[in-house]
C-alpha cells in the first residue's frame, strides 16, 4: 500500500457538514473492521468541542494534529475554502492531504498545491474520491465492498469509473494494493507519474491500471516513466471537440489532450490501452 496505512491518524476537515460527518462514520467503520486508527479528529472552525460520531472536533488543523497525533487530513470543506484548508494543513505539518472537494477555483489550487509542496506536504486531488488500500485504510469516499486486497494498483482521474474497474478486477479474482483517485481538475497535486513512483517502491504492487480522460498529457507523462507494468484506459474518445463533459479537465483544445491522440501516444510508448473497460482484467493478467 502507498501514502498511508493502518497506523495513520486521520483528520477530517469540514467534519460537522453532511458529507464530512457521513464519511467519518464510514471511514471509521472500515478502520474498525481492519483494526486501523482511522479518523481521530475532526475540524470545523468555531465548532471546537463538539463530537461527530464519537470523534472530537477542533477549531484548527494544528490543534487537532497536536491533540491526536494525526499526520493526514481528508477535506470535505466547500470549494471556496478548500485552497485555504490545504495551506492550513501544510502549515500544521501534516504529511498528506486528500482533497475530496470539487469546484475549487483553479487559481486557488495552483497556489495551494505549490504552497503545500514547498512545505513537504503531499496533496491528493482535488475533486477526487480519495485513497483506498484494501485491508489497510480508507481515506475518502470509495465504496469498500467493491475492493479486495491484492497486487494491482489503480490510479484514476475519475470516481465512479474507478469503482467500475475495481468491481471488474474483483469479479475477475484480481485484488488491489492501493486505489488512488488523483482527481479530475486541470491542476492536481499528485499526478500519474508521482503515484506510479510510489507504487514502484511498494513491495505488494506488481502492476498498475491507469484510468485517464481526455485533456492534458499527465497519462503519457506518467506511463513513460513507469517502472512497473501498466495497463491504461482513456475515457472521452468520442467526446465532441470544445465540449465540456463534467470535469474541467475535459476541455479539448486543438490536438493536445484529445483522447484518441492520447491513446496513440500511449501505445507508441508500448503501453497496452483497453478499448473497453471489460478488457482490463485480462490485460492485467497478461502483464502480471
Amino acid at each position: 500500500m502507498i501514502y498511508a496505512d493502518k497506523n495513520t491518524g486521520v483528520i477530517v476537515c469540514g467534519a460537522t457538514g453532511n458529507q464530512g460527518s457521513f464519511h467519518i462514520d464510514r471511514m471509521n467503520q472500515y478502520a474498525r473492521s481492519v483494526g486501523g486508527r482511522g479518523v481521530v479528529a475532526g475540524v470545523t472552525p468555531g465548532k471546537g468541542g463538539q463530537e461527530v460520531h464519537g470523534v472530537p472536533v477542533y477549531d484548527s488543523i494544528l490543534k487537532a494534529a497536536r491533540a491526536k497525533d494525526a499526520s493526514a487530513a481528508v477535506l470535505f470543506v466547500p470549494g471556496s475554502a478548500a485552497g485555504d484548508s490545504i495551506m492550513e494543513a501544510a502549515d500544521a505539518g501534516l504529511e498528506l492531504v486528500v482533497a475530496i472537494t470539487e469546484h475549487i477555483p483553479v487559481h486557488d489550487v495552483m497556489k495551494a498545491v505549490t504552497y503545500a509542496e514547498v512545505r513537504g506536504c503531499t496533496v491528493i486531488g482535488p475533486n477526487c474520491p480519495g485513497l483506498f488500500s484494501p485491508g489497510e485504510i480508507s481515506m475518502g469516499i470509495m465504496p469498500a465492498h467493491l475492493a479486495t486486497r491484492g497486487q494491482v494498483g489503480v490510479i484514476s482521474r475519475s470516481g465512479t469509473l474507478t469503482y467500475e474497474v475495481v468491481h471488474e478486477l474483483t469479479r475477475a479474482g484480481i485484488g488491489q494494493s492501493s486505489i488512488i483517485g488523483i482527481g479530475g481538475d486541470p491542476i492536481i497535486g499528485q499526478t500519474f507519474a508521482d503515484a506510479l513512483e510510489r507504487f514502484a517502491d511498494d513491495p505488494l504492487t506488481r502492476a498498475v491500471v491507469i484510468l485517464g480522460e481526455l485533456g492534458g498529457n499527465l497519462e503519457e507523462e506518467g506511463a513513460r516513466s513507469a517502472e512497473l507494468p501498466v495497463v491504461a484506459f482513456i475515457a472521452g474518445t468520442t467526446a465532441p471537440a470544445e465540449k465540456r463533459m463534467g470535469h474541467a479537465g475535459a476541455i479539448v483544445t486543438g490536438g493536445e489532450g484529445d483522447a484518441n491522440a492520447k491513446i496513440m501516444r500511449l501505445r507508441d510508448a508500448g503501453v497496452p490501452v483497453a478499448d473497453r473497460l471489460s478488457e482490463i482484467p485480462a490485460m492485467i493478467r497478461e502483464v502480471l
Binding site: P105, T238, A239, S278
Partner: protein, 359 residues
C-alpha cells in the same frame, strides 16, 4: 465562461491597457459614427472560432460604416446570429505581437506565451516557426512577473511590452482567468493597443467574480445545471444518464463503439437519489430525438430502490434500460421489473441492449 470581445476589452482598459476607440451597437439600436474616424473595423460580437475568416470582421471607410454594420447584422457567423457589433477605429499598425497567459497543467503554473509574429493564428506560428514563440511559466506564489522572465520573453522586443505583460498577468490573476489573450497587440505611433482580446473565466470562480449566470450554457444545459447535473447535448437518439464524469463519458464512448448514437452526456453527480434521478429522466424524456434512455449508476452508497422509484416516478414514454450497482440492488431490480423496465448487471450488457433498442 467566455467573455465577449468588448467585455474583455473593458476589463483590460481598467487595468491600464490601451484599447482602440470604438462604440458598441446592439441590433435595432440607432448609432452615430464620429466623423473623425476615417476607417473602422466592424466586428460581430460572437464567440466563434476563426471569426475573421468566417466573415465576422469587416473593414469600412467612414461613409460606409453604417451600411457595413447593417449588412453584418443581417449575417450569421458560422450559424450564430449577430446581436451586437463593436465598431472600432482602425489602428495605424507599425508591428503586431501575440501575447497570452494560460495554465500549464503539467507544470501546475501560469504560462505566458509571447511572439513578435502576431496578428495571425498562433497555431500556425507554432507549426511553422515554433522557435519564434517564447514561453515562460510563473511560480504560482508570485504576484507579479519577475524582471528576468520579462527579459527572456521579450528577447529584444520593445521594453514597453513588459508593462502590458505585467498588467495582463494581474488581470489573469484577479479575474480568475483560464485564458487571457491579446492578439494582436499592436504597436502604433502613440503606444501599444489591444486590437483583439479574449478572456475565459474559471466557471468555479464565477460566484466570487460577481457573475450570476454562466452564459456558455444552452437553455437545457442551464436547466440541468440548476439540478446540479453536468449536461452536454449530442446529436444521437440514446439518452445517457450516469454518475461521475468518467463513467458517464465511458458510457457515451461504449455506445459509440457498439454502433449507437448518444443523444447527450448527463452526469447526475454524487448522491443519486429518487428526486434527482426523476428530474434527470424527465429532462431526457423531453428531448424529441431520444428514443431509448440508458441509466448507468454505480456507487457504494447509491440506494438502488430509491433510484428505481425515481425512474418509475418520472413516467416518460421512452424505453429505459437500467444498470444499477449499490445497496438494495435486489429491491430495486424487483421494483423495476414489476413495471416492465429492463435492468441488467453490467455496463456492456446495458449498452448492447440500448443500442439494439434504438436501431
Amino acid at each position: 465562461m467566455k467573455l465577449k470581445e468588448y467585455e474583455a476589452k473593458a476589463i483590460l482598459e481598467k487595468a491600464g491597457i490601451l484599447i482602440p476607440r470604438g462604440i458598441l451597437v446592439k441590433k435595432g439600436e440607432d448609432f452615430l459614427v464620429s466623423p473623425d474616424i476615417k476607417e473602422a473595423a466592424v466586428k460581430a460580437q460572437v464567440e466563434v472560432a476563426g471569426r475573421g475568416k468566417a466573415g465576422g470582421i469587416l473593414m469600412a471607410e467612414n461613409a460606409r460604416i453604417r451600411e457595413t454594420t447593417e449588412e453584418l447584422f443581417r449575417a450569421t457567423i458560422k450559424g450564430v446570429p449577430v446581436e451586437e457589433i463593436l465598431i472600432e477605429e482602425k489602428l495605424q499598425i507599425q508591428h503586431e505581437y501575440y501575447l497570452s497567459i494560460t495554465i500549464d497543467r503539467s507544470k501546475k503554473a501560469p504560462v505566458i506565451l509571447f511572439t513578435t509574429e502576431g496578428g495571425v493564428d498562433i497555431e500556425e506560428v507554432a507549426q511553422k516557426n515554433p522557435d519564434a514563440i517564447k514561453k515562460a511559466t510563473i511560480y504560482p506564489l508570485l504576484s507579479a512577473v519577475p524582471g528576468y522572465t520579462l527579459r527572456y520573453l521579450l528577447n529584444g522586443a520593445p521594453g514597453e511590452i513588459g508593462a502590458v505583460i505585467q498588467k495582463l498577468y494581474s488581470v489573469f490573476r484577479s479575474k480568475d482567468a483560464l485564458l487571457a489573450e491579446i492578439n494582436p497587440l499592436v504597436m502604433t505611433a502613440d503606444g501599444l493597443y489591444a486590437a483583439d482580446a479574449k478572456l475565459i473565466l474559471d466557471d468555479n470562480a464565477l460566484a466570487r467574480q460577481g457573475i450570476k449566470e454562466n452564459r456558455d450554457l444552452s437553455d437545457r444545459e442551464r436547466q440541468a445545471a440548476a439540478h446540479g447535473f453536468s449536461f452536454v447535448e449530442l446529436d444521437g437518439n440514446i439518452g445517457v444518464i450516469g454518475n461521475g464524469a468518467g463513467l458517464t463519458m465511458a458510457t457515451v464512448d461504449l455506445i459509440n463503439r457498439t454502433g449507437g448514437r448518444p443523444a447527450n452526456f448527463l452526469d447526475v453527480g454524487g448522491g443519486a437519489d429518487r428526486v434527482r434521478v426523476a428530474h434527470a429522466v424527465r429532462l431526457l424524456g423531453s428531448m424529441p430525438d431520444v428514443t431509448v434512455i440508458i441509466v448507468n449508476l454505480l456507487g457504494g452508497i447509491t440506494r438502488c430502490d430509491e433510484v428505481a422509484a425515481g425512474i418509475i416516478e418520472a413516467g416518460v414514454s421512452q424505453k429505459i434500460i437500467v444498470r444499477l450497482a449499490g445497496t438494495n440492488e435486489a429491491e430495486g431490480k424487483a421494483l423495476l421489473s414489476s413495471k416492465g423496465y429492463l435492468m441488467l448487471d453490467t455496463m456492456e450488457e446495458a449498452v448492447t441492449a440500448a443500442v439494439e433498442a434504438a436501431s
